[in-house]
Amino acid sequence: MTQTDTARIDTTRIDTRPQETPVGLPRRAVTIQLDGHEIKVPEGATILDACESRGTAVPTLCYGDTLDPVNACRLCVVEVENSRVLVPSCSRKVEPGMVVHTDTERVRHSRKMVLELLGSSVDLSAAPSVAGWMKQYGADPTRYGEIAKTVKQPVKIDNELYVRDYSRCILCYKCVDACGEQWQNSFAITVAGRGFDAHISTEFGVELPESACVYCGNCIAVCPTGALMFKTEHDMRELGTWDESAQRQTDTICPYCGVGCTLTLHTQDNEIVKVTSPLDHSVTSGNLCIKGRFGFQHVQNHKRD
């Protein structure tokens, strides 16, 4: 940015007349080296943002577009020159002159180990992309054998709207953050226990209908592994009828109140099987309430009069 540009932006900021659009702080461009290429990214961007801007694929599980990074899964690590340890690309902000490598032996080895450790203890079968990454990094979760400790446990089914299958939970905290101060502010769930016994729980471990849960399903929307799942999806998976290749996604507008939330209807065989909302829409940022998320039964054709 030139001196002239900065001066112009400063003038705008001290102007007290009504502003037509919000004026944020001006962002400088930062030059970094990514896999041998020099690129410019806005100040404050993360290494992951920089990778995405260049089309460099980086695997992530705990990262959510609408949530602050928690650095829990360590799958997105990259190598930064002069950094002793690998750094999580989802949270590390770019600095001028930073030299980043996303595909070194050290990075690949680390990602492979993360996938194997997670895969040996958690059921990742409902996590999109994981199977592909396993192949890409040559990860073999079975190599730890039968003695590997797992989080396997029965599915918690205590209501008709969504289930909690903690055999699939990688403790990424996304549901806790979405339910808590980052979006829903209901604070119905948090992490309880320590070490390997750490788990996501309602207050005092009560069932959902006794908890502070308001069934907005904003936790389901951010869950990367299917540990939180629509009951419709869970039931169809049990029956073996869940088939994402036969599903369509259609964006429409919620039929209830006047806020106008965009609903992405996931349909299979002319039935709505799941509802999400686009993460990048200015109205919802991917969030819905119980009516938008679960209020579609009245048009399910097997239920219509």
């Binding site: 037509e20 008709e160 709207l161 429409t252 507008i253 709505i272 829409h281 109205v283 009516k291 009245h298």
Partner: protein, 570 residues
């Protein structure tokens, strides 16, 4: 919508949701957005976390009020008294925006005279809100760089709902909190296309795009396009139609996607009127209670997921609805039904698809001209006005009021010297308890769409009352009680709720097949908008096993206030 149109000429909220996140003071008045508009409340929560102060004005200590810096728990129907006291305090403290008031508004002297009697002390006596809290809101609102005023049906569902709205708009005008980013006035629409209905001219005095029906040029434009003549007179709004049906002046009714047999106030009377019609047609996705009364039922597809079209939300954003599933056999899209009906009546309407209907609107309504289907998809919806195919307008309305040159400011915004009147349905010894109505999180209106949600939070209809009232009446939690107003009587289980003060009761109208709450509500309508006073009925509560102890739970202030109010007709 009527109030905003009166002041600004356009019946729409002036700000965008995003602006709430960047404001300094938020006033949520007669709105439990946490429950009724949960995703809008997300924007408020972001605003709070960014440092905004929240004031909630509501007779109930709602779940929205739990997030407030201050809750102002006013008596039902005393909104104008409170708003005027705030206005008076702002003026008395010299905190109003003199430059804006002088340059961009009219009627300041009349307004100042109207609010003069509303001292903090008098307001406290009438509204029940402590003077300190009124002063705090007034000062915070007036000294904020940016402030947002938001309301919902707690303001509009009164016999003087439009005056209520005008009294709130006054406060924004007084402080210059309109027409700037982050400062504005936001009515939250209760239904997904209430705004769109108004936009499309489904109101008795406007053509699509809020063009006045009495404007010869506007009418002629539509007449040329439609090849017909349009009568230069305003039609009836819903309430006027019911009155016309009652006196047999209107004898046939065509109802599309509405359930008046259960949603109208004083539903017993409403059903009598509908039954007295010579002919009624109902077009709906379900065989509603209204449809059961009809001579002809036209089964329609569900507009939001079985057909194509657009809706407009509370921030004036026009968005696309799309067909995701096939509708049941025998149903047809609303547009198909209307086109076919027109054909049978001798008019051939040629629309190859819904987009061509939309494009016709764009050619006739300047505020929609730039909204092609392609742009609506690319931009995630577009807020009106959007006259240009290439550019977008600012996210807020009425920036013109801030123009340097007075000639660019257009029609100045009038302050409204409205007078306060309490609720029509007076409290008395026979009807000592004030009943107000509202929504719960997991249900919606008469339950036609929401009753199928398997919500673990749902208890069915209850009469929510303060435990002190219940104790006085000898009622236990969960006990079925009789609730009687001057219009009718129903039964429901009692539920204790500490968010209600003694003398105040709450019910919804989500479960009309089990408990028809609108048997109780009063058909006292706002003369300007036709909205009924759902929010203020006088009731008594009795034990089912005997009528003893029915009276006594009287909020003394409430009665004193109500009795003092002169009311025309009852």
């Amino acid at each position: 919508m009527v109030g905003l149109a009166t002041v600004f000429g356009a019946g729409g909220g002036t700000s965008s949701y995003r602006e709430i996140e960047d404001t300094d003071v938020i006033v949520l008045w007669g709105s439990n957005a946490r429950v009724a508009h949960p995703i809008f409340f997300h924007h408020i929560l972001t605003g709070i976390r960014n440092g905004a102060k929240l004031f909630v004005v509501d007779p109930r200590r709602t779940s929205s009020a739990r997030w407030a810096d201050r809750w102002l728990g006013l008596q039902v129907g005393t909104d104008i008294a409170l708003a005027h006291a705030i206005g008076r305090e702002i003026i008395a403290a010299g905190l109003h925006n003199r430059a804006f008031v002088e340059g961009s508004t009219t009627g300041f002297d009349e307004y100042r005279a109207a609010v003069e009697q509303w001292t903090l002390e008098r307001a406290e006596a009438v509204t029940g809100v402590p003077a300190d809290a009124i002063r705090e809101l007034a000062h915070a609102f007036a000294t904020a760089d940016r402030a947002q005023m938001c309301w919902t049906l707690g303001i509009t569902e009164h016999h003087n709902g439009v005056d209520n709205v005008l009294s709130l708009i006054n406060l924004n005008l007084l402080c210059g909190h309109v027409g700037r980013y982050g400062a504005g006035i936001n009515p939250l629409r209760g239904q997904n296309n209430v705004q769109g209905g108004g936009d499309m001219g489904a109101i008795p005095n406007k053509l699509p795009g809020f063009q006045d029906l009495l404007d010869d040029d506007a009418r002629q434009k539509f007449e040329i396009s439609w090849g017909c003549t349009i009568a230069p007179r305003h039609g009836w709004h819903l309430t006027e139609m019911f009155e016309a049906m009652d006196r047999k002046e209107m004898r046939a009714l065509y109802v599309i996607g509405e359930n008046p047999a259960q949603s109208e106030a004083d539903s017993t009377h409403a059903i009598q009127i509908l039954e007295g019609l010579e002919h009624m047609v109902v077009q709906d996705i379900f065989l509603t209670k209204t449809a059961k009364l009809a001579d002809v039922v036209l089964p329609a597809t569900a507009a939001w997921c079985e057909s194509e079209g657009t809706v407009t939300n509370s921030e004036r954003r026009v968005q696309r609805c799309r067909k995701a599933i096939d509708a049941p056999a025998g149903t047809r899209d609303d547009t198909d039904i209307l086109i076919e009906l027109a054909r049978r009546l001798g008019h051939e309407w040629h629309y190859p698809d819904v987009e061509s209907i939309w494009n016709e609107l764009r050619s006739l309504s300047p505020m929609h001209a730039g909204m092609s289907y392609a742009r609506l998809v690319d931009l995630g919806g577009i807020q009106w006005p959007c006259p240009s195919n290439d550019t977008l307008e600012p996210p807020f309305l009425h920036g013109r009021l801030w123009a340097q040159d007075p000639r660019d400011r257009g029609r100045l915004a009038p302050l409204s010297a409205v007078a306060w009147e309490g609720p029509v349905d007076l409290l008395s010894n026979d009807f000592p308890i004030r009943l107000t109505t509202g929504r719960r999180l997991d249900s919606y209106n008469t339950g036609v769409q929401s009753s199928a949600i398997a919500s673990p939070m749902r208890d069915g209809e209850t009469l929510d009352i303060n435990p002190d009232d219940a104790m006085r009446l000898g009622i236990e939690e969960g006990e079925r009680v009789r609730i009687t107003s001057r219009r009718g009587s129903i039964e429901a289980p009692a539920r204790f709720d500490l968010d209600l003060r003694p003398g105040l009761a709450f019910m919804t109208f989500h479960f009309p097949d089990e408990v028809d709450v609108n048997v109780l509500t009063i058909e006292a309508n706002d003369p300007k908008s036709g909205t009924a006073e759902f929010k203020a009925s006088a009731i008594r509560i009795e034990k089912l096993n005997g009528a003893v102890g029915a009276v006594g739970a009287v909020g003394a202030v409430d009665v004193a206030v109500d009795v003092a109010v002169p009311v025309a007709g009852d």
